[in-house]
C-alpha cells in the first residue's frame, strides 16, 4: 500500500499475558485485577505445591494489570504479530 509516497504496512499486534506457572504462588491478585476475566486457577499444584493460575489467551487484552500486581514476577506480556 502506498500513501503519499511512503509504504505503510498494517500489522495487527496483539498483546497477551503469559504466566510462569513454576513461580506462581497462587495469591490470585491477578485474577482480581483482570477486567476481562481471563485468569483462572489451574486446579493443579506446581512443584512448589501452589495451585497456579492460567490465562485464557483468547480473552486476554494484554492490559498488563496482572503484571503490575503480581508479587512474584510470574507474568510476561508478549506482543505478537498476528
Amino acid at each position: 500500500m502506498q500513501f503519499a509516497g511512503i509504504s505503510v504496512i498494517f500489522v495487527t499486534m496483539s498483546k497477551k499475558a503469559k504466566i510462569n506457572q513454576f513461580k506462581c504462588k497462587g495469591c490470585y491478585y491477578c485474577i482480581d485485577v483482570c477486567r476481562s476475566g481471563s485468569i483462572t486457577k489451574s486446579g493443579q499444584g506446581n512443584p512448589k505445591g501452589y495451585d497456579y493460575v492460567v490465562v485464557d489467551e483468547a480473552k486476554c487484552t494484554g492490559c498488563g494489570n496482572c503484571y503490575t500486581v503480581c508479587p512474584d514476577c510470574c507474568v510476561d506480556i508478549i506482543e505478537t504479530e498476528e
Binding site: 499444584g45 512443584p47 512448589k48 505445591g49
Partner: protein, 183 residues
Amino acid sequence: MSTEKNVLIAGFGGQGVVMAGNVLAYAAVEAGKNLLATVSYGAEMRGGTARANITISDEEIDSPIVEVPNVAMIMNAPSFAKYIETIEPGSHVIVNSSMIDDELIKSKDGDLKITKVDATNHAIKMGNIKVANIIMLGVLVKTTGIIDRDSIINGLQRAFRKDKKGLYYINVQAFEIGYSTKL
C-alpha cells in the same frame, strides 16, 4: 532405641501440622510415654510451610536431634518433595493424596510403606477442611500402632479445651474415620 519412634509431620502452615503434632504429643503424655517434639520456627516458616518432629519412646529420650524420621505424615506436595528422601527406609509414611500427585508418590515409594489418604477431600466432605490433619493422624496411629486409641482421644481433649468443644467433637470424628480407615 528399639522403641523410639521419630514421627515427622509436614505440610502447609494452614494445614494443622502443629496441631496434629500437639495431639500426638499430648496423647503420648497421656499414654505415659516419653516424648520430645520440635516444630519449625523462624525463617523456616516463610513461604508458609511447617514441620513438626515428635519422638515417642518408652525409654528416656536423650538426643533432641532427629535426622532420620522413621514415621512420617506428609500433607502436601512441597513437603513431600522436601522430606521424603530423609525418611528411614522401611518406614510407614502417610501421605495426603488429595494434595500430592500420584506420579510423584510413585516415583519415591521404593523402600517406604506409603499409605495414601484422600484426607483433604474427606475433610471437605466432613464440612471442615481443617480436620484433614486428624484424619491422617488416625490413619497413622492405626497403621503404626504408635500409641493406643484412648490416649489419642485424651490427647484430643487436651488440645481442644472447653472453649473449643465444637472442634473437639469433629476432630474425634475425623480421627475415628482415619483410625477405622473408612475412607
